[in-house]
């Protein structure tokens, strides 16, 4: 269809129009909006064609049976630019793999809408700002790896609500304040191989250590 439309558009007095995305599907629009804001020197996103009926034939996108985006795998792709609120529209997303790139800017709070997210891998980028409290709403989350970025601010204690969390890695950032001790974090800092939660908070020079409940007030904002 796209090719046939090209005939008509070109014929109308050769307008220099870049035909914009007119996909009637929201997830394809969201992903294309993401592509617009990114620099992609390796051409990893070249197959992302917004005129297609859904993004399921785009490389690095995996859909489920109902043609909804379940995985986005862009690890180690030399991509730069910032993440935007459009990611929050991929409501069926389970795996968000954006690790080892040059993403900058903040982690969008809209990621908190991804109720089905199992794995959030944003590690080894240049992300700044603080960890959004909204990430505490990711009730299915098992893996949160935000290590090796430039994140600042405190670790939201709301993250203790993530009852399915198995791995959290916030090491190599610039976080400050205290480490939550509720919920899955309750076994920190016991050094046991049998802890349910694997965690790492290393190399955050201003991180104070675990919250001392009842003794020291939780410092929000540090």
């Amino acid at each position: 269809m796209a090719a046939r439309r090209a005939v008509a558009l070109v014929a109308l007095l050769a307008l220099a129009a870049a035909a914009p995305a007119r996909a009637s599907n929201d997830e394809g629009d969201a992903l294309y909006a993401l592509r617009q804001r990114l620099k992609d020197p390796n051409g990893v996103l070249q197959s992302w064609d917004p005129t297609l009926v859904n993004p399921c034939t785009w490389f690095h996108v995996t859909c489920n049976q109902a043609s909804r985006v379940e995985r986005l795998d862009l690890g180690n792709s030399n991509i730069s630019g910032s993440l935007g609120p459009e990611l929050g529209r991929l409501v069926n997303l389970k795996y968000l793999e954006l690790y080892r790139n040059n993403f900058d800017g903040e982690i969008p709070k809209e990621l908190g809408k991804l109720k089905n997210l199992i794995s959030l891998d944003l590690y080894a980028n240049k992300l700044t700002g603080s960890i959004p409290k909204s990430l505490s709403k990711l009730s299915s989350l098992r893996f949160m790896r935000l290590n090796n970025n430039k994140l600042t601010g405190s670790i939201p204690r709301e993250l203790a609500k993530l009852s399915n969390l198995k791995v959290i890695d916030l090491s190599n950032n610039d976080l400050c304040g205290t480490i939550p001790v509720d919920g899955p974090f309750s076994t920190f800092p016991l050094r046991s191989a049998n802890t349910a939660l694997l965690f790492s908070f290393e190399n955050n020079s201003r991180l104070n250590g675990p919250e001392l409940q009842g003794l020291v007030a939780y410092d929000s904002g540090c």
């Binding site: 269809m1 090719a3 046939r4 005939v7 008509a8 070249q46 793999e97 794995s119 802890t195 965690f199």
Partner: protein, 785 residues
């Protein structure tokens, strides 16, 4: 006195010099030079210097008296802003009574459009299109009463720019041409546009206007072209537009227009081009439109709406129309047979409707037809062979380049006259119930490039296709009942093959090694056949698969309608990540091999890992044995890998963790053993079922733990357990070291030092003697009692 003379001379000089400087040509020149000095890039303006007369400067035009009248610098590679452009020196242009042209289009100008440009009162043509300019300061705009042509297309204008321009600049009464397309304008199309009574061309598409089409536009009696496509317009089409008696082109495509086509559009007798593609228009197409549009000779597209009703018989009146697209609607009934009267038609698309009945025989009169799309209807039609009673309709369309009759209910045999269509490049008859063998006469002149016959009931072998269609790049015979072998001469006869899909047939024999010599082949699908033997190993010759493809195929079909080349290769179903997907032009990027569900045996060929561009590899459900190649990690672009259902043994190679694009993996039901490698990407493939049916496998994500504490390749190890392992290790080490040290200290001394030894053994003797003495004494005492 001398000093006073000098001062006088100097001041007179200064006066003269400044007088010279203010004189008109130099004022304009200096203003232009001053602007050029603010630019970041202006190498094309190197001829601009005071040494040259201004009128010979590149881009400058003058009148007979030598005054600058226009500046034309389109595409001159200028990078910078317009802030310093205006100068009071330009006001002098007003006295000349000549109109001014300012064309700075297609450069890299940034920043705001200076409001001072509106002060050039004789400005007739202002063209700043194709830059990155932003909105001017509206409050300071002056009326531009002599402006005839305004083009600000393809910039970064936003907001209610158009409304403000119309209201702040005296309605632009002389305006004839307005080009504002490709910006971010919002706030609705202003009603005031209807008062610009001289307007001839209105191009404001590709914006975000929203709102309705103002009925006031119907007052523009001189309007020839109305183009507001892709502007988020949502309303009915105002019937007042039927008053546009000069209009010959209307493009309102890609909006959200609702309602039906106003019948009074029939009054627009000059109509030549009407494009209403992709809206939400509904209702029946008024047949009086076709009766009255006698000059409709270019394009009519109603594609992508909700029109209902039958295709009007009045269509046959439009004998001059070249391009007709009624696809993607809900038209019902049959195709009127007088469609054969539209003898100027070059492209006909009535796909994706609910049409029934036969393909009318009169279609054979459309000898100018280059493109015919009739897929996804319910056409029932029996095609007879050329030896049968009638010549099939379509073989008479001698100019046909693209013929698409896919997904209909065509039955019967494939007429062999199809292969005589000299210009036919793409043929798609997939998804019908055609049967019989495919025969091609040896002297056929076909130049077919792309052949799609999938999902039919064809039988026999495909040698005839291969031998006669030498230019084939895409061949899709999937889902038929074809049989025979893949011939070894395929490389010689069809060297241009890019996509070969033979899936779901009954092909047998082994895969000939010559198949792998097709250096353009990037998509090979032989799945679900009866292929046997081992897979040949000469993959290094599949050059197209050795690196990823980033450019779509060169356009191969020339369209005289638009005087361009473009590609239309049809569509192909590919099994990707475990599901069927329909790939269209994006199939050009897919590098994939699928030989699953056959009876192939032997090992996975070692040269397979040369195919560095591979994105999808499926060898599942065969009898493959041996190991998975150790260097499989070389396939850096591999996204979908399925080796399930074989007899593969040995470990999963550690290099698997280097596959950072892998997002779909299935190794189940083999005989693999050992620890499953971990890695940045592998740890996100945490569904245990992808490894099931391999009793020897252990490790994440399976529940079985591995026996040995082998060092995994996981990049993140739990810091705490790692420390603990170290502690235990050092504990054992130090204890045993201490024990060994103590042992050697003691016995080393005994061995090496004689005096020690003597003393030690002496001591033992003494102790022994004392003990024995005591025992004897005790025995004596007890025996004496």
């Amino acid at each position: 006195m001398e000093l006073q003379h000098k001062l006088l001379l100097v001041s007179i000089c200064l006066l003269l010099c400044t007088a010279v400087a203010i004189s008109r040509p130099e004022g304009e020149a200096e203003a232009l030079l001053r602007w050029r000095s603010t630019l970041l890039e202006s190498s094309s303006l190197s001829s601009w210097s005071l040494a040259n007369p201004t009128c010979f400067w590149f881009g400058v035009s003058c009148d007979a008296a030598g005054h600058v009248t226009s500046l034309r610098l389109p595409g001159a590679g200028i990078n910078g802003k317009l802030d310093a452009f205006y100068s009071p020196a330009f006001q002098n242009l007003t006295r000349l009574g000549l109109s001014t042209i300012l064309d700075l289009s297609s450069n890299s100008l940034t920043g705001a459009i200076p409001y001072q440009l509106s002060k050039l009162p004789r400005l007739a043509v202002l063209n700043l299109a194709n830059n990155h300019l932003t909105n001017p300061e509206y409050g300071k705009l002056s009326p531009m009463s002599s402006l005839k042509s305004l083009s600000l297309a393809n910039n970064d204008l936003d907001g209610t720019f158009l409304w403000l321009i119309l209201n702040c600049t005296g309605r632009l009464q002389q305006l004839r041409f307005l080009y504002l397309h490709n910006n971010n304008l919002t706030g609705g199309v202003p009603e005031e546009l209807g008062m610009v009574s001289g307007l001839e061309y209105l191009y404001i598409g590709n914006n975000l206007f929203g709102g309705p089409i103002p009925a006031s536009l119907g007052k523009l009696q001189k309007l020839q072209i109305l183009a507001i496509f892709n502007a988020d317009l949502g309303s009915t089409i105002p019937p007042e537009l039927g008053n546009l008696t000069s209009l010959w082109a209307m493009d309102l495509s890609q909006n959200r227009l609702i309602g039906s086509l106003p019948p009074c559009f029939a009054k627009i007798q000059t109509m030549r081009w009407l494009d209403l593609t992709e809206n939400n228009l509904s209702g029946v197409v008024p047949p009086e439109l076709f009766t009255n549009w006698t000059r409709l000779d270019w394009l009519l597209s109603l594609s992508g709406n909700n029109f209902v009703g039958p295709l009007p018989v009045e269509l046959g009146i439009m004998a001059s129309l070249r391009f007709l697209d009624l696809s993607h609607n809900h038209f019902t009934g049959t195709v009127p047979s007088n469609i054969g009267n539209m003898t100027s038609l070059e492209s006909l698309d009535i796909s994706i409707n609910h049409l029934t009945g036969d393909i009318p025989a009169s279609l054979s009169r459309l000898t100018n037809l280059h493109y015919l799309f009739l897929p996804d209807n319910k056409f029932t039609c029996t095609i007879s062979n050329v030896d049968g009673m009638e010549l099939p309709t379509l073989c008479q369309l001698n100019h046909l380049q693209i013929l698409d009759l896919s997904h209909n209910r065509l039955s019967g045999k494939l007429p062999s006259c199809i292969w005589n269509l000299k210009y036919l490049q793409m043929l798609d008859l997939s998804g019908n119930t055609l049967d019989g063998e495919i025969t091609i006469m040896i002297n056929s002149t076909s130049s077919l490039i792309s052949l799609h016959l999938a999902n039919n009931n064809f039988t026999g072998s495909f040698s005839a296709i291969l031998k006669n269609l030498k230019n084939l790049t895409i061949l899709d015979l999937g889902n038929n009942n074809m049989s025979g072998i893949i011939p070894p001469w395929i490389q010689g006869s069809n060297p241009l093959l890019r996509i070969l899909r033979l899936r779901s047939n009954m092909f047998q024999g082994s895969i000939p090694w010559q198949l792998l010599q097709l250096s353009d082949l990037h998509l090979l699908d032989l799945a679900e056949n009866n292929l046997t033997g081992s897979i040949p190993n000469n993959f290094a010759t599949m050059y197209s698969m050795c690196h990823p493809i980033f450019r779509k195929e060169e356009a191969n079909i020339y369209s005289s309608l638009s005087d361009t080349n473009y590609s239309f290769d049809g569509e192909v179903d590919i099994v990707w990540k475990g599901r069927y997907y329909n790939f269209q032009s994006e199939a050009d990027f897919m590098i994939a091999i699928d030989v699953s569900s056959n009876s192939l045996s032997g090992e996975i060929p070692s040269e397979l890992t040369n195919l560095r561009g591979l994105r999808s590899l499926n060898m599942s459900r065969n009898n493959l044995s041996g190991k998975i190649q150790g260097d499989i990690g070389n396939l850096q672009f591999l996204e979908s890998l399925d080796l399930s259902g074989n007899k593969l043994a040995g470990p999963i190679p550690l290099s698997m963790s280097n596959l950072l694009s892998l997002d779909s993996l299935n190794l189940s039901n083999n005989n693999l053993s050992g620890e499953i490698p971990t890695g940045y990407q592998l740890r996100t493939l945490d569904n245990a079922s992808i490894y099931s049916g391999n009793p020897g496998l252990c490790g994440f994500p399976l529940n079985t733990k591995c026996n040995n504490d082998s060092i995994s390749t996981s990049p993140l190890v739990n810091v705490n357990t790692h420390n603990q392992e170290y502690e235990t290790f050092w504990l054992y080490y130090s204890v045993s070291a201490g024990g060994v040290f103590g042992f050697w200290l003691w016995f080393g001394a005994l061995f090496l030092c004689k005096s020690w030894r003597l003393a030690f053994f002496n001591g033992i003797d003494v102790a022994q003697y004392a003990i024995v003495k005591k025992i004897k004494k005790r025995a004596k005492e007890s025996s004496s009692i």
